[in-house]
Symmetry: C2
Subunit: 443 residues, 2 copies
């Protein structure tokens, strides 16, 4: 019997610890052998650690092991002397004295050249060898940025009085409509995977006022595009007691400002690795759907084909317009036509052909859909009836409204898409750890 | 066109804001009408707000509205004068002057008596009316505690150099074996819902060294017990470069200590509402599986029926033993028999009938399974073969090991179960927002 009392400081140092260590001191470090450059009498052993690369220097006679004992892709622990060297990553290197091999690969011929700065490999190969391709520093940095976006979302909303919730992903029926659902057998009953936590988070507004969830959603959409996934991570919030639907956009703006500050502060190394310039989110323009469609048509000489929806090319042009005219990488497009929004969307009382809803476009692509929702029980039932929908499966949802709900609204952000546009990638699979699409179900 | 610049301070105050306001000041607040107690010339209107209850006082003549304009379950905004009153919740009340009704229920007869302190209703009724039952203060407080546990998990691990990951829930095959899987049709291909992120998080140790995920997992287990769900939230971490499997237990101990401190600090009101005494996690005993089985058999005069597993009753007795002998609500049980652990578990080199793995028991129930994993490619292949398993579907997993992996291990915590034991509940559905079990797929 022993007692565990918490985490003990390790005798091995991470890079941040090494940077605080004086030159000449003896240190212990571990890592994966990223590359070995053998220059004859001296060799550089580059270790890959979670905080970046670290240079080990091997000199014959100075170490008590043979360089041949060391192979690329080994995971090792080394003891040595810390030295300053401006040319080395981080300005430090370790003169290697002693080696312990922790893990040895069965095969040190990597299927992909992960130690190259840019992994110039096909997306297909990167996805087929996901556990290897992500060992490349630039590849993995994208997912650190993604972490920052999620972390900021939660931290910001905790600070704004939101409660985190976990809603079920398996359900008897879909939250938002019949199409594009994955269906499964649930102990001999038909069930579906939820496309969104929408109806659940609305019900929880009646409980916690403000709620959020960061969780997977599932869409059985059959299109194979660069911007769609069949499973993705949705950053959702829903807030009650709003004075207007602008308040929802203000909350999202606050989040984005917070996220950009967190990235600039805590993820500076990854931003540099990826050469990302963070967008300025100090003020985000909001413009009506019908208005911006006309502005864009006029400025860029483009005919409006579909007055009720935005085509991908129009999203690009609206973003271009926002950048040129208002100097913003972000733009809220408000008042979407009612017929293109789900039944729970609040119609604009001033003109019920439109809704109090919005999309947020970022660098040419929609990354958020949001808006105010209907909170009156009668109005909700009328809208359901007017759409020719049934109330089947909505009983519990309607029950919340029957017993009082405050004015409310919220958003959903596609995490992988936000990451993609921030990292300057043109395919969403580049910023998805293990993408699921029409053809890809593995790894 | 307008610009969004972030969140503006609202003119309505939350309870924390009211507590900082001087008596006699005019204030605006919103909330849901929890109860109205009409005493004749004066009435008490109790508002339910996200931070708790707030007392409004209605006096005829003092307000510009009629009490009859107000109904239970209304969501309202009121203007009035803040007064101190020791007998009111939080020691403050609002003398109501002006009323705005924000949302009106279609029916103010609640299906459940949510304004009672304890909702003495059957679990069935609470689950059938989930959006209503959770409006009860004690019911909702449990999910605030649950938030604290998740939030602490992430915050603690961020601080320990972990990276958050999002692994896919739909897969071609299961991560851990064939049984108990929900099966679905994925564009005419068979697919399953993942039981755990196990193999993915291990692969990601080769990329980020330390990773965690907080996400749903799916288990098609056919037993209907008080401690099992078919969908639950798993708090998973996996860490590389460990010196021993004790390091994993130390990390979990550090998390629990951090979580208890966060709850004591930020969730004190909810702890009080639920009358929860936080366990002391300063030191957690760890004892071998075979040893504690014997100790318990001896002390409590119980025969060992199955030497390879713990029965629920044994878990209870081990917890009782740990409390009586070592004064701890937690106890790690280590070195589980190899035959009861999955193929990836690292056998104890000192006696390969046992593994370098553990469960954490808390107040009579297992809330965590963890352990060191095999990191050597050959050893892993041998174990797979020895188990009579096929490598089909494990190709990408094995690829990570073929190209070098450090010694590593990790844990999975059942969030709802942890919450259940902390809140002193005896059914896991009490601490699950929308439980999924053999018979329940709605709401």
């Amino acid at each position: 019997m022993e007692f565990l009392t918490g985490v003990k400081e390790k005798d091995t140092l991470e890079i941040s610890g090494l940077l605080k260590t004086e030159a000449g001191e003896s240190v212990k470090v571990n890592g994966a052998v990223h590359t070995i450059r053998n220059m004859g009498t001296v060799a550089f052993v580059i270790l890959r650690k979670r905080e970046g690369l670290l240079q080990g220097v091997y000199e014959e006679g100075a170490a008590d092991f043979d360089l041949k004992d060391l192979r690329e892709a080994d995971t090792i622990e080394i003891e040595g002397i810390l030295e300053k060297n401006e040319k080395a990553p981080g300005g430090i290197e370790i003169r290697m004295k002693h080696l312990t091999v922790l893990g040895r690969p069965a095969d040190d011929m990597m299927p992909l050249p992960i130690s190259k700065w840019k992994l110039n490999t096909s997306l297909e190969a990167k996805l087929n060898y996901r556990s290897i391709s992500l060992r490349n520093l630039r590849e993995r940095a994208k997912f650190r940025i993604q972490e920052g976006l999620t972390r900021a979302f939660r931290d910001y909303l905790y600070g704004q009085g939101f409660t985190e919730i976990h809603t079920p992903k398996i359900g008897a029926r879909s939250a938002e409509g019949g199409a594009n659902l994955f269906r499964l057998d649930y102990f001999h009953r038909p069930a579906v995977l939820q496309q969104s936590p929408q109806l659940y988070k609305q019900m929880m507004v009646g409980v916690f006022d403000r709620v959020f969830e960061t969780a997977p959603v599932f869409r059985a959409e059959k299109h194979n595009t660069k911007r769609h996934l069949n499973e993705y991570t949705s950053l959702d919030f829903e807030m009650g007691y709003i004075d207007s639907f602008e308040e929802i956009m203000a909350m999202e703006t606050g989040y984005i400002q917070y996220a950009m500050a967190l990235l600039a502060g805590e993820y500076a190394a990854e931003l540099k690795t990826l050469d990302i310039t963070l967008p300025d989110a100090a003020k985000i323009p909001a413009v009506r759907f019908d208005e911006i469609k006309e502005k864009v048509a006029e400025k860029y000489g483009r005919k409006i084909k579909n007055p009720f929806d935005l085509e991908p090319e129009e999203e690009l042009l609206i973003s271009r317009y926002a950048l040129e005219e208002w100097g913003s990488d972000f733009v809220f497009v408000t008042h979407y036509p009612s017929r293109k929004r789900p039944f729970y969307a609040m119609d604009d009382p001033a003109d019920t052909r439109y809704t109090l809803s919005f999309d947020l476009l970022f660098r040419g692509m929609e990354i958020t859909t949001g808006g105010q929702r209907i909170h009156d029980h009668g109005m909700l039932k009328d809208k359901i009836a007017a759409r020719g929908m049934t109330e089947d499966g909505l009983e519990q949802y309607l029950e919340a409204f029957r017993h009082g709900m405050p004015p409310h609204g919220g958003i959903g952000i596609g995490l992988e898409r936000f990451t993609m546009k921030l990292a300057g990638e043109d395919n969403i699979r580049e910023t998805t750890l293990f993408p699921r699409d029409l053809s890809r179900l593995e790894p």
